[in-house]
């Protein structure tokens, strides 16, 4: 290294070598990232993550006895809102969902596993599904009424 290099830069270089050695990006993380492109949305409208109670400040959660309410997540696309509650009973997760406006539909729950799980929303738009484990999921909603409507897919969330 050049003698006139700032000491700060020398120390930064030292840190960079250190972390590359003790904390490199695990190869599996890179492989998974590369495989993510296979989850492109091809034929569906996106229902965006509108709110997630897990991202809200809850300063009084502990004061209320430390028992946090179920996580509530809302997705929205033009014409469809999807609300879900996530109940955790390790390792399982149970999702309770509500479509608005209410209508019957088939819900696919896509996970990193090969086969998606599926659930049926009743005519009030309610559905329930149990997942064997946590991890990233997204929902794909196929409305029962009419082939004209494109499917809706939500953003990915980790449950």
């Amino acid at each position: 290294m050049a003698e006139d290099t700032e000491p700060e830069e020398l120390l930064m270089a030292e840190l960079r070598i250190f972390f590359a050695d003790v904390d490199p990006v695990p190869p599996l993380v890179i492989e998974t990232a590369k495989a993510s492109l296979g989850w492109r949305r091809l034929d569906a409208d996106l229902a965006e993550l509108l709110s997630d109670s897990a991202l809200e400040e809850e300063p009084f959660a502990l004061a209320r006895g430390g028992h946090a309410p179920a996580r509530a997540v809302t997705f929205s696309s033009t014409g469809l809102t999807i609300d879900i509650e996530v109940h955790v009973d390790d390792p399982e997760r149970t999702l309770l969902g509500q479509l608005s406006p209410p209508s019957p539909a088939t819900i696919e729950i896509q996970t990193m596993a090969d086969e998606p799980l599926s659930a049926e929303a009743d005519r009030l738009g309610r559905f329930r599904v149990r997942l064997p484990a946590g991890g990233p999921i997204r929902l794909r909603v196929l409305a029962a009424d009419g082939p004209g409507r494109p499917p809706v897919e939500t953003s990915w969330i980790t449950v």
Partner: protein, 177 residues
Amino acid sequence: MISAANEGDDAAWAAIVARFAGLVWAVARSHRLAPAEAADVAQTTWLRLVENLDRINDPERLGAWLATTARRESLRHIRLQTREVVTGEDALFEAPSEDRAEQRLIARERNTAVRQGFARISERCQSLLRMLAAPEPFTYEEIASATGMAIGAIGPTRARCLDQLRRTPELAAFGIG
């Protein structure tokens, strides 16, 4: 490159991953998440990028977008961590370090000095320096996105943190910095 990836071009996507995988990982690890949790954060961050490829108009802001997303996911993980105790001070070092045969004693001693010195500085400094030490350096905009710090505060804070580190007995003894 972003639009090519959006068309399904694996090579373009692989190039984006190669460029930013270190950044996403460093953001998650700088939030003191254990490796398994950081892996979840990284996975969700990359899936989010895939679903938003058609809306990222400014390729120059891709790193900042990823940093913001990884930060939000890291915070969400921390908030949902009800069962496990938030990882302790050595969380940054839980990744198994391969004990490569050619690793020299001197390198190990330097690593030990850096590790011990690093553990002494403030958490805020540990987080910032962990990010700055990503293999591909962050831009200040990316650091601001990953930390919530104002861009103008980053330079002075970085200097203060490096100074803290340099003054730790371990690093001073080793003559590093």
